[in-house]
Symmetry: C2
Subunit: 97 residues, 2 copies
Amino acid sequence: VDRRRLSDAEIREALSGLSAWIRVDNALRRELTFPTFAEAFRFMTATALVAESMNHHPEWTNVYNRVSILLSTHDAGGITGLDIELARKIEEIVGRE
Amino acid sequence: VDRRRLSDAEIREALSGLSAWIRVDNALRRELTFPTFAEAFRFMTATALVAESMNHHPEWTNVYNRVSILLSTHDAGGITGLDIELARKIEEIVGRE
């Protein structure tokens, strides 16, 4: 995984395959809505396991059935390949639910 | 559980036994820091089960080992006995960890 801070062009390229994600300054953002709290938290649990295995963690907020996720790499001061990889893995989880 | 919006005096009284919680406008707030992400998320999982069983859910944010919780009762437009009860149950979870 590329731990370098990505250029604007590299971020645009990566986001072309991640249509649910938007760039907000130095982070990637995704909003999700589930039918229930239980389903939102099930998604969070699956994502937590992936994040922990990557040792790369989201900043996220949950309100009932909604989850808002921000991905960024503090050490690099912006968006890196780690964020792209975690975003892709989150899409795999969303696709499975 | 009292589902009425509590008065300022009732909230002060309830918070006298919940020293880690502060009132912020129409919500109760608690910030927690754990040694690791895994421990923070373990706490969140325990709290999610309690919240679901009460059908009363927090607004909460997690960043690595930190968890920030806001409790409020939307239907009542403020803090009710449900929030006090959930805060107490969260303290029980914190005490067990």
